[in-house]
Symmetry: C2
Subunit: 237 residues, 2 copies
Amino acid sequence: MPPRTASALWCGHPKCSHCPVRELGLFGDLDADALARYEREIDRIEYAAGSVIYRGGDAGDAILTVRAGAIKLLAPSADGQARIVRLLRPGDVTGLEAMVGEPYGHEAQALWRTQVCRIPVSTIRRLSETAPEVSERVMHAWHHLVTQADDWIAHIVTGPARSRVARLLLHVAEPAPEFGGEAAVLPTREDMAAMLSTTLETASRIVVEFRRNGLIKPAKGRLVTIDRAALETVAQA
Amino acid sequence: MPPRTASALWCGHPKCSHCPVRELGLFGDLDADALARYEREIDRIEYAAGSVIYRGGDAGDAILTVRAGAIKLLAPSADGQARIVRLLRPGDVTGLEAMVGEPYGHEAQALWRTQVCRIPVSTIRRLSETAPEVSERVMHAWHHLVTQADDWIAHIVTGPARSRVARLLLHVAEPAPEFGGEAAVLPTREDMAAMLSTTLETASRIVVEFRRNGLIKPAKGRLVTIDRAALETVAQA
DNA sequence: CGCCGAATTGATACTCATCAATCTTCGTGG
DNA sequence: CCACGAAGATTGATGAGTATCAATTCGGCG
């Protein structure tokens, strides 16, 4: 039965053919016929900010692709704190461990309002039999995951705190025509700390400093416009 | 043509059926017949300490499994330093990106004398057609990669330097019956630094401290026996 | 308006990086 | 077999960068 709680809202079956991120997901090069045939096995679900999408250890029976919003994957670190090991953005896929019969390896939470599509593993398997391009895509998704994780190691959690904050902002920034440039949604300082391996106070001080120096400018709500060039300079160090 | 340089020595085709780590690798549950048929497409190669196994950007036409030794995967970090993003131990697989037609994403170097088996992608593909258990194993290998990368983020590069060193030692330790306990090969301080995101001086000071306090004891060459319980206490913090 | 969680700010102590100087180890050639 | 050289490892002194603890302040929201 589709979820129907305060934090998770079932939004019906998706129209994959109109999906804004289809070419990024698993069905990028599937023909319209096949799409239509399998659409009703797929659920579109919307999560409120902060809600839990799945927990580590849960039996994994479906894969998720992010349509809109952002998801953080949490892993307990050695000292008991929850560390964020990955950020998922629209087009990203998670829960692939379900494909190999493993339970989910992390806790997944919506960073803010987020829409995902839930694709049962059984659907993927059946599709793969007739459409080899799907298993191809699944393999690519694995590769993308590993690449993301490696980048995270080499860039997000390495170097001085100031550089790490800069890299995180560049990482989550997107073109924002309405503000004439690029914009990023500032995560809470706590989330920043959990991603960057710092304390929330340090994250706060650096955000304030960036604001003072004009590297970021408040736009609307938590949205800020960023000065990419300047941030990249800081990210270097 | 098989490599035949000072640092890489071709050792013939492997006898997969006798491989000490077969059950860990891609052919764990392949029958003897199939194994024998494909063995001669596989090369067994030995690398000297420090030699380069492949470079980032190289066309990936084969997958490697580690038979013995250890391999470090290097990625350039934002400040230009080479960071170690993963350690491969016997049974581990690397170069999977070749399966999706991507060039290798890292530079791979032997940490010390290391034996690998080189399996062409074409071989894997052909095998997968007749033996679904192989593609199953490939998928598992991907999953294992991601798990390793996530562990690295949550454990090896997080927390105080002392804890990180302790975790690294626990990570590379193996049972060593001849020393009555567990033993670990100490990497060079430079490699430690590149894994832990510290400086080599800090790594050195901590190793010395561990030795003074009996958490590790010199055994033979670079091998040290470890006091797992004590190291785990330190790793906590 | 008052409350609560998030964000900011300050003061202080501690960890770690940096720069520089030995000290060891080990392979090589005499 | 021994001396030598070079790379790796250790040690010390010092300062910059962060964590920590403790107040406030800010921003929504009932």
